[in-house]
C-alpha cells in the first residue's frame, strides 16, 4: 500500500469544506428558488433542477474518490465499479423516466380537475 504512511488529514478537511459549501449553495438555492432558474425550462426541466443534479454528482464524485478512496485503487478495479454502476443506472433511469412521461401524457387528460 503506497498510501499507507502518508497522511491525508489536510486533504480530508479540504474535501469536507468543499462538500459543505456545495450543500450550503444547494440549500440556499432551494430556499430562494430564483424565478429565472426555477420557472424556465432547459433540456426538459428547469435550470435549477439541472444545477441540483450537477452539484449532487459533484458531491458524489468527491465522496467516492476521496472518502471511499477510489482514486487510490487500481485503474481497472475502479472501472469495474464505476462503469458498471453508471451504465446500469443511466439505462434504468432513462427507460423509467420516458415511461413516466408517457404515462402522464396518456393518463393526465383523463383526470377531471
Amino acid at each position: 500500500m503506497a498510501h499507507a504512511h502518508e497522511s491525508n488529514v489536510k486533504k480530508i478537511w479540504m474535501v469536507f469544506g468543499l462538500l459543505s459549501i456545495v450543500t450550503i449553495v444547494e440549500v440556499a438555492l432551494g430556499i430562494i428558488k430564483p424565478d429565472v432558474l426555477h420557472l424556465t425550462t432547459f433540456l426538459g426541466t428547469s435550470p435549477l433542477n439541472w444545477i441540483f443534479i450537477i452539484l449532487t454528482l459533484f458531491k458524489a464524485y468527491y465522496i467516492a474518490w476521496s472518502f471511499m478512496h477510489l482514486e487510490g485503487e487500481k485503474k481497472w478495479f475502479r472501472r469495474a465499479i464505476v462503469w458498471t454502476a453508471i451504465f446500469l443506472i443511466c439505462y434504468l433511469v432513462t427507460l423509467l423516466l420516458i415511461e413516466g412521461g408517457y404515462l402522464y401524457d396518456t393518463l393526465a387528460p383523463l383526470v377531471r380537475w
Binding site: 441540483f52 472518502f67 413516466g100
Partner: protein, 326 residues
C-alpha cells in the same frame, strides 16, 4: 474433532481471504465494493421508480417545500433547514470515519477509537433526526379532506395553508367517537375518528368567506398549487367523504398516496442502512478498543466498514436531492 475445524482456533488466526489479491485489493475489500455496487443499484431502482411516478403525476405531485417545513422546538415554517442539518451531520460523520481510517494506516489505536466513536454519535444523531422527521410527517400539521374521486383538498387563507383547527368551529353533529376496546365491541378497537367531521368542515367553510381551497393540481407555469374559487371549492368540498390528518400508507394530507409510500419506503430503507451501519461501527469500535487490529497488524477492517458508511452518506446525497430539492 480435528476434521471439523478448518483453522485451529487456539491460534487466534483469522482467515485473511487468501493470498490472491486481484487488482491489489484484498478479498474483503473487493467484496465490500461489489456489495456496494449491487446495493447502489437497489437504491437507484427505488429512486428511478420515484422518478417514474413523479413524472406520471407531474401536475399534482406534492411540493417538498410545503411538506417538510419543521424544525424541532421551533414554531413556524422553515423549509429545508432541518434536512440540510441532517445532511451535514452525515457528511461530518463521514469525515470522522475517513479520519479513523487514516489514523488506522498510521496504527494510532486511540485516534482510531475516538474517530470511530464520533462517527457512531453522528450516525445516532442522524437516525434520531429521521425518527423525528417521520413522526412529524405521520402526525401531519394542517389536515385536509379527501373526496370520493380521490383528490386531497387543503385549506388556505390569504394564500397560506391553514390547519383545520384554525377555522373549523361548532360541534360535530354525527356523534361519532373513536371505537376503543372498552367502549364498543369487546377487545376490538376501530380506526381513530378525526377531530372534525366532514359536515362540520363544510359548514365552517361556508360560514367563513376568507377560507379558500387549494387543490392538488399544479399550475405548471408558476409551479404552485392552484387555489380554487369559493364556488368551485364548495362544489369540490361537497364530494368530500373523509377527513385526513397526517400520513399513512393508504392516505395522507399532502396529496398523492404514493408520495407518502415512497417517502416511507426510500427514507426508511436508507434509515435502516444507517442503523445497520451504526451497529457494524459499534462492533468494529469495540474490536479497536480490544486491540484486535493492533494484534493483526493492520486496520483494514476499519477501512471496509468505512466504505459502507461512506456509501450510506453517498445514497443520502441523492435522496436529499431527489426528495427535497428537485
Amino acid at each position: 474433532m480435528e476434521a471439523n475445524i478448518a483453522i485451529p482456533s487456539d491460534g487466534k488466526n483469522t482467515w485473511s481471504g487468501g493470498g490472491v489479491r486481484p487488482f491489489g485489493a484484498s478479498y474483503g475489500k473487493m467484496m465490500m465494493w461489489f456489495f456496494i455496487v449491487s446495493d447502489a443499484l437497489t437504491f437507484s431502482g427505488f429512486l428511478a421508480a420515484y422518478g417514474l411516478t413523479r413524472f406520471k403525476f407531474i401536475d399534482s405531485w406534492p411540493i417538498a417545500d410545503e411538506v417538510f417545513t419543521h424544525i424541532p422546538f421551533i414554531h413556524g415554517e422553515y423549509p429545508m433547514y432541518y434536512v440540510a442539518f441532517m445532511t451535514f451531520v452525515l457528511i461530518f460523520s463521514s469525515v470522522t470515519m475517513v479520519l479513523a481510517v487514516d489514523a488506522g494506516h498510521k496504527m494510532q489505536k486511540n485516534k482510531v477509537a475516538w474517530y470511530m466513536f464520533a462517527t457512531i454519535i453522528g450516525g445516532l444523531i442522524f437516525v434520531g433526526s429521521q425518527a423525528w422527521e417521520w413522526n412529524t410527517f405521520i402526525n401531519g400539521t394542517y389536515g385536509a379532506v379527501k373526496t370520493t374521486d380521490g383528490k386531497v383538498l387543503q385549506f388556505v387563507k390569504d394564500g397560506h395553508q391553514i390547519a383545520l383547527s384554525d377555522f373549523v368551529v361548532g360541534e360535530r353533529t354525527d356523534g361519532r367517537v373513536t371505537h376503543t376496546r372498552k367502549n364498543g365491541l369487546w377487545w376490538e378497537s376501530g380506526e381513530d375518528v378525526p377531530q372534525y367531521s366532514v359536515a362540520q368542515i363544510m359548514a365552517s367553510y361556508e360560514a367563513n368567506p376568507a377560507i379558500q381551497i387549494r387543490s392538488e393540481q399544479i399550475n405548471l407555469e408558476k409551479k404552485q398549487k392552484i387555489i380554487l374559487s369559493r364556488e368551485k371549492g364548495l362544489a369540490e368540498l361537497a364530494k368530500a367523504n373523509m377527513v385526513v390528518e397526517g400520513a399513512n400508507l393508504k392516505v395522507n394530507e399532502y396529496g398523492n398516496t404514493i408520495f407518502a409510500d415512497f417517502f416511507f419506503f426510500i427514507t426508511g430503507f436508507h434509515g435502516f442502512h444507517v442503523f445497520s451501519g451504526i451497529v457494524i461501527n459499534i462492533i468494529i469500535f469495540f474490536n479497536v478498543l480490544l486491540g484486535t487490529y493492533e494484534k493483526r497488524g493492520h486496520y483494514e477492517m476499519v477501512e471496509k466498514v468505512g466504505l459502507y458508511w461512506h456509501f450510506v452518506d453517498l445514497v443520502w446525497v441523492f435522496v436529499f436531492t431527489f426528495f427535497y430539492l428537485v
